[in-house]
């Protein structure tokens, strides 16, 4: 990788608006400053650049305001949950046909998919209406079946409402962009994983961990929104694991994993809340 490319990668630590306004100029200055110097100086410059970039990101996050940060985190949580529910249903259908797709069937997956597509593009409100109406109808129609099988718990419904209601009441402020549908490729890949593994808690738990958690941890120092979203999804998955354990009896993998996930949720939420407060203190909106 040449010097210019390395600097461009380091510049990505800055928020997009800063990169657009002064990114090229910073690149030119840094290339001039390090043109005749050693690699050690370049390394020092890059470390400082990334540090300043992350600090600029934290400042721009703080300007958003604490309420907006939390609302955004819940909206991201709603989208992650929708994605997870879609890939599980589609995967179950592909693996086992209509009966494996659950009492809601494929029309439920279709409605969730429509909600997910709209939310990904940027229409959070319409996406949330799709998701909430889907769960209202499915829960209403199949309540007895759910209650008997233990496949859904009240806290699960609360988490769904906690995530989808902010999408309806306080949607994210972003311009619609059809390119975000590229995330569907990731969701389709997760569906394929589910198909290959033929269900189970580990399959439900691992894909979001592999895809979202590294991003959430990387962003946590400067932006706790994805961490808030991940903690809610983890709570949902943990409760789903609990329901599965109640239904099928205790298993060696299920119980420790469920306990781990349910313990991680309040921990991540506490860290995210502390980080939100600390970011807010450095530059109150």
């Amino acid at each position: 990788m040449n010097r210019e490319r390395i600097i461009r990668v380091a510049l990505r630590s800055y928020p997009r608006d800063v990169r657009v306004s002064t990114g090229s100029e910073m690149l030119g200055t840094l290339l001039d400053s390090t043109s005749a110097e050693s690699n050690a100086l370049l390394a020092r410059e890059l470390v400082d650049l990334v540090r300043r970039g992350l600090s600029a990101r934290a400042t721009s996050t703080a300007r958003v305001g604490a309420r907006r940060l939390i609302a955004d985190g819940l909206c991201y949580g709603g989208i992650l949950l929708m994605a997870e529910l879609v890939y599980v249903r589609v995967g179950a259908y592909v693996a086992g046909g209509q009966s494996a797709a659950g009492p809601g069937g494929m029309w439920e997956a279709g409605l969730l998919m429509a909600g997910l597509v709209l939310a990904l593009i940027g229409y959070d409100r319409v996406g949330a209406i799709c998701a909430l109406s889907c769960f209202a109808v499915v829960t209403g129609v199949h309540w007895r079946a759910f209650a008997q099988s233990g496949s859904i718990l009240l806290p699960d419904i609360i988490i769904l409402i906690v995530c989808f209601a902010p999408m309806l009441i306080a949607p994210r402020r972003r311009r619609p962009d059809i390119r975000r549908l590229a995330w569907l490729v990731v969701i389709a890949a997760l569906g394929a994983v589910f198909y290959a593994q033929r269900g189970g808690l580990v399959t439900l738990f691992l894909p979001p961990v592999i895809v979202a958690l590294p991003f959430a941890l990387a962003l946590l120092p400067t932006d706790p929104r994805l961490a808030i979203a991940c903690s809610l999804v983890a709570a949902f998955v943990g409760l789903a694991g609990l329901a599965q354990t109640l239904q099928n009896g205790p298993s060696t993998v299920g119980i420790p994993l469920t306990i781990l996930v349910l313990m991680a949720t309040p921990l991540v939420l506490c860290i995210a809340a502390a980080r939100t407060r600390s970011i807010q203190r450095r530059d109150p909106a």
């Binding site: 910073m26 200055t29 410059e45 650049l49 300043r52």
Partner: protein
């Protein structure tokens, strides 16, 4: 207004006229006798703050030698802040030097 050393020399670099980013880095190094090396991240962070406080204005971007540049110019407020800071520093230096001279003891061989 008190300045940290890098900010002080970065603004001082603009006393003789507008300079682009790398020009400021070089001039600040010269003025400080090599004591201050402004890294690019630090330079643009302090320029952003100085622009927000009205001490510096940024010109329009242009391309020179295949690299995008923008000249930065000290405002009247920036010049005033630098004058006040240099007065404060020289006053502080004078006070300390006077005390050192007054309390110095002859060196015994």
């Amino acid at each position: 207004m008190e300045f940290r050393t890098p900010s002080y020399f970065a603004l001082a670099a603009l006393i003789d006229g507008p300079l682009h980013g790398y020009g400021i880095v070089r001039r600040a190094g010269e003025l400080s006798g090599g004591a201050v090396h402004l890294s690019t991240g630090t330079l643009y962070a302090l320029l952003e703050r100085a622009i927000k406080e009205g001490l510096v204005v940024a010109g329009e971007p242009y391309v020179q030698g295949g690299r995008e540049r923008r000249d930065y110019r000290l405002t009247a407020d920036g010049r005033g802040a630098l004058e006040a800071e240099s007065m404060r520093l020289s006053e502080a230096a004078r006070t300390v030097a006077t005390r050192l001279r007054a309390t110095s003891k002859p060196v015994v061989a």
